[in-house]
């Protein structure tokens, strides 16, 4: 058995550890004393309406913003002290599309791999593995501009995986997609968690994307209202389902806070 006292922090720590994180835009506080964990190998849903602070939190985790209040650690690597070690273990799918439209799928993936110090030949081999069986594997030379919304999203997920991260953040990844594309993307990311032991933090305002087996963090107006398994949150609130639990936690009607059921 491995001696845990001598193991590196990344071997025992949770995939993501957020402790007392806060952030303000001038006088307006966007996040206040936010703390939660994403256990290894879990699919954790960060559930909150528009304006809850999800994107701000993602900007802090990806170090686009500096963490001035609290602490963030990825696989045990403190983001402020060892940002390189933390970020190399992190894959990100941002809410806004961030692919270079004038480059091909292959060029986008090779470029992203290079930003992680991965040579082009390794990146090309990996993209073959990641996209194997997908219709995109025959379209690697196509410009991203010519892809559908769903296909672009899948390329962004492939890009987030190309450097083999242990934790993947996805910020509203299914917004704007049709029902079939949404279902495929959700299923693919769940498969990664199940089969590849990747940890996922999935930010959404679409409550029907929450599965009974998921962990949930409810974020509202910059504060964490609940954290745990779906069953825990439902039980703690004394409600019959996650939808009612959220309504009770926020003491508001779902449609009033922008939380939606996808049709």
């Amino acid at each position: 058995m491995q001696d845990l006292s001598t193991a590196s922090p990344g071997m025992t720590a949770p995939a993501l550890d957020i402790e007392a994180v806060g952030h303000a835009y001038g006088a307006r506080r966007a996040l206040d004393d936010v703390s939660f964990r994403v256990p290894r190998g879990s699919f954790t849903v960060l559930l909150g309406p528009n304006g809850a602070g999800k994107s701000t939190l993602f900007s802090l985790i990806t170090r686009l913003f500096a963490t001035r209040e609290g602490r963030i650690a990825i696989l045990g690597h403190d983001l402020a002290r060892t940002p390189g070690e933390a970020l190399r273990r992190l894959g990100v799918v941002f809410q806004a599309r961030t692919l270079d439209l004038d480059l091909s799928i292959r060029q986008n993936l090779v470029y992203h791999a290079a930003l992680h110090g991965i040579p082009a030949r390794v990146a090309k081999a990996r993209m073959g593995e990641i996209l194997a069986g997908s219709d995109l594997v025959d379209r690697l030379g196509d410009k991203v501009r010519n892809l559908s919304g769903g296909q672009s999203r899948r390329v962004e997920i492939a890009r987030a995986l190309i450097h083999r991260p242990r934790l993947i953040l996805l910020d509203e990844p299914t917004v704007g997609l049709d029902i079939r594309s949404r279902a495929e993307i959700v299923a693919e990311v769940r498969r990664l968690v199940r089969e590849e032991n990747v940890s996922v933090l999935w930010a959404t305002h679409l409550i029907d994307e929450v599965d009974a087996s998921d962990r949930v963090v409810v974020l509202h107006r910059g504060t964490v209202l609940a954290e745990g398994t779906v069953a825990d949150v439902v039980e703690d609130t004394g409600t019959s389902g996650i939808r009612d639990a959220f309504a009770k936690l926020t003491e508001t009607r779902l449609h009033a806070v922008g939380l939606e059921l996808a049709s």
């Binding site: 913003f65 500096a66 070690e85 470029y111 110090g117």
Partner: protein
């Protein structure tokens, strides 16, 4: 998408080797080159602008503006010869602004995030992006030299080599200035203001079009403005090195301004100190 290999989570690398840095740098330059190839009109317009000045403006002014023997020139020179270093500076100035414009665009479209979430140090990413822009400007400059040669602008052959390090430095200075400006411009629409308040004053209030002694005769205050303009020193550094000479003051000012602008840009893009994190996000 389908299965990943079982080795997906096997490796736990630590630290970054020189190889990682080299691959990252090459990737950034390669991406900039691809973008440049996709924007051929950018290449053409970058050349048309100085060529118009050379073919039309200089042709007209050569009849009314004599240039006396001033270092580094050993004899009287045609006005076309005199303004060539200024036009080279113009190419690099516009290229630096173009790069900063594309950084603002990248930030608006989100693709800048891809660069900034790389695990390699942010200063390294910014310097790599800067050097990629300089490489593009060097290509434009040497194509301009080739065309100007047919217009009888013919510095010593060795000058094409001796000017190279000067062009790298001036390209860095102007690119770093553009990068610093890009950190302060929050919307693409605001960039037109930069053109009016930065590029044109810098270009006209310099030694690019007229020798400083002539400006001093015409207007002492303007002369001092030109002296404090870093673009003047960039142009003089190019001018002297094109004739195999080194202007130490121009070198010192250009180097100092490069460090100043680059430091400012790195600070502005540093998440711990910069202004980027003060922008509000949605969601």
């Amino acid at each position: 998408m389908s299965v990943l290999t079982a080795s997906y989570v096997r490796d736990e690398p630590r630290g970054f080797s020189a190889g990682h840095y080299a691959i990252c740098f090459a990737g950034i330059v390669w991406r900039e080159a691809l973008r440049f190839l996709h924007q051929r009109e950018r290449f053409i317009s970058a050349l048309v602008r100085p060529l118009l000045w050379l073919f039309i403006f200089a042709a007209g002014f050569r009849q009314v503006l004599g240039v006396s023997i001033v270092p580094p020139y050993q004899t009287y020179v045609l006005y076309e010869v005199y303004i060539t270093p200024g036009l080279i500076g113009m190419i690099q100035l516009f290229n630096g602004m173009q790069s900063s414009l594309s950084m603002v665009y990248d930030r608006e479209t989100g693709s800048m995030k891809t660069l900034l979430v790389s695990p390699l140090p942010r200063w390294f990413l910014l310097v790599s992006k800067l050097l990629a822009g300089v490489a593009v400007s060097l290509l434009q400059v040497y194509v301009f030299f080739a065309i100007a040669w047919f217009w009888d602008v013919r510095p010593p052959v060795t000058g094409y080599l001796t000017v190279f390090p000067a062009l790298v430095l001036t390209g860095l200075m102007l690119g770093a200035m553009g990068m610093f400006l890009s950190s302060m411009v929050h919307q693409l629409e605001n960039f037109a203001g930069v053109m009016n308040f930065v590029i044109f004053p810098m270009y006209f209030a310099s030694s690019a079009l007229y020798p400083l002694w002539r400006i001093l005769e015409a207007s002492p205050p303007l002369y001092w403005i030109c002296q404090f303009n870093p673009f003047t020193h960039a142009v003089e550094l190019i001018r002297f090195s094109l004739y195999g000479e080194l202007n130490l003051i121009a070198l010192a000012v250009t180097l100092g301004c490069t460090l100043l602008f680059l430091g400012g840009a790195i600070l502005a893009y540093d998440p711990a100190r910069g202004i980027i994190s003060r922008k509000r996000q949605v969601g």
